[in-house]
């Protein structure tokens, strides 16, 4: 059996947002290292992955992330799950990259001086120590997103969740950041509309209307999703789509 300390398990999980069910009765066990999540806008992808960090409480069922149960509260989930958001401008809280990185360490109780040193060391590991003191609003989108990822990684999460993190980046920057992600030892859950990026993943979940429509190898799930979305029923802009 798979190691429970390295596994995400959804057991009949439901999640409500503003009184309506966004995720209903999802059960899945994710023990693979690289998990992709695909689906339409408004399908519930973002809602589902937010529960992994405790950002959204589940309203039914049980969720376990690397040995932590949802019943232990959102903070315990946040401690094992790092979350990278779509827009770095919403995630970068501090005026400089170094402060951003040391913030995460301060959050887990590391002393001021040590947090700074470790933050600088991590920037140096990635060859961007010259960005340490630069105001973050002057950085490129790719640099900003890299800082976001490092600011999360420095807290040593066991699971890294990324919610469409590369949607405003050019091809080259995406590829460079993806190589950084590939090298990580953490389990990764990656929500993306770039289907090609998920071809090398171990497992892909296709979410539709708050449920898992299909899950399995990318070679099976992605083509099925494409056929369904491109050659399925006609698209109506008037249809409900709240994201």
């Amino acid at each position: 059996m798979s190691d429970i300390l390295k596994t995400i398990s959804f057991d009949h999980v439901s999640i409500e947002r503003n009184g309506s069910a966004i995720i209903s009765d999802v059960s899945a066990t994710l023990s693979e290292q690289r998990i992709g999540i695909i689906g339409r806008n408004g399908s519930g992808k973002s809602t589902l992955v937010r529960s992994l960090n405790g950002l959204l409480p589940i309203s039914g069922g049980t969720l376990r992330v690397h040995g932590v149960s949802s019943e232990e509260g959102p903070k315990r989930l946040a401690r094992v799950t790092g979350f990278v958001f779509q827009n770095p401008d919403h995630q970068l809280i501090f005026p400089t990259a170094l402060e951003e990185l040391s913030f995460g360490l301060r959050q887990i109780g590391v002393g001021k001086r040590e947090a700074k040193d470790q933050g600088f060391a991590l920037l140096k590991d990635h060859g961007i120590e010259q960005l340490a003191e630069r105001p973050v609003h002057e950085l490129s989108e790719g640099q900003k997103q890299l800082i976001c990822i490092l600011a999360v990684l420095i807290m040593e999460p066991k699971l890294l969740v990324l919610d469409e993190p590369f949607s405003s980046l050019d091809l080259r920057t995406r590829a460079a950041l993806r190589r950084k992600l590939d090298a990580l030892e953490q389990q990764i859950v990656f929500v993306s509309h770039e289907l090609d990026a998920l071809n090398d993943y171990d497992k892909v979940l296709w979410i539709e209307e708050g449920q898992v429509k299909l899950s399995g190898k990318p070679g099976d799930v992605i083509p099925a999703y494409q056929r369904h979305e491109l050659f399925g029923a006609d698209f109506h802009f008037a249809g409900a789509a709240v994201s």
Binding site: R79, H90, Q91, F94, T96, P135, A151
Partner: protein, 202 residues
């Protein structure tokens, strides 16, 4: 908070933050009795020399005062109308010098050092349950998000201009406020994702 920190290692960067703040305090008190034109001009000149001592990038930071120039203009005009040109000039020179001097401190002092320097002032707030840690987080957020909000406003202006050919309107204020409120949701979420304002249990 008009301008932002300028990375560097000049004499001004190395000077302790508390010493800088105390000097600013002392200077702003001392100028009050010296109500002459040549003194105000001299003071402004000294402040400009301070910027020059940081090099070319330092001189560029003098631009920080630009958004205030119209206000200075109004102050000067009011004095002219009241018939006291000299007092108007003194007021404007003095204001420019003081704003630039304060700005000089913000561009040469790391936010963290600044917060440490003023932290004792926040101690009385502990009575109300406000930690100095939260205060420094709040200050960091302001510094970080002023440029972000300016960018949001610029993009609204752009969208407006694309359809009206005019670049500004009071109508942009409501959507701007909505964007800002929406953004606070996102930022709060990002903060919670990393343990919230108080951090994880130690």
């Amino acid at each position: 908070m008009i301008s932002l920190y300028m990375a560097g290692n000049s004499w001004a960067h190395r000077m302790p933050a508390r010493a800088k703040l105390l000097s600013l305090f002392a200077v702003s008190l001392l100028v009050i009795p010296f109500n002459t034109l040549w003194f105000s001009a001299l003071m402004l000149a000294v402040v400009v020399v301070l910027y020059a001592s940081l090099g070319k990038r330092g001189l560029e930071k003098l631009k920080a005062v630009r958004p205030l120039l119209w206000m200075m203009g109004i102050i000067f005009i009011v004095h002219v109308v009241l018939g006291d040109i000299e007092q108007g000039a003194i007021a404007v020179l003095r204001l420019l010098a003081m704003v630039l001097l304060a700005n000089f401190i913000s561009i040469t002092t790391h936010m963290e050092a600044l917060m440490d320097a003023v932290e004792p002032l926040f101690w009385p707030l502990r009575v109300f349950g406000l930690s100095s840690r939260r205060m420094s987080l709040a200050v960091a957020l302001v510094i970080r998000f002023v440029p972000v909000l300016l960018a949001v406003y610029a993009s609204l202006q752009e969208a407006y201009k694309a359809r009206t050919t005019r670049s500004n309107s009071w109508r942009l204020l409501a959507p701007f406020a909505l964007h800002a409120i929406k953004m606070t949701d996102h930022v709060a979420e990002a903060l919670i994702a990393r343990g919230g304002a108080d951090g994880f249990d130690r």
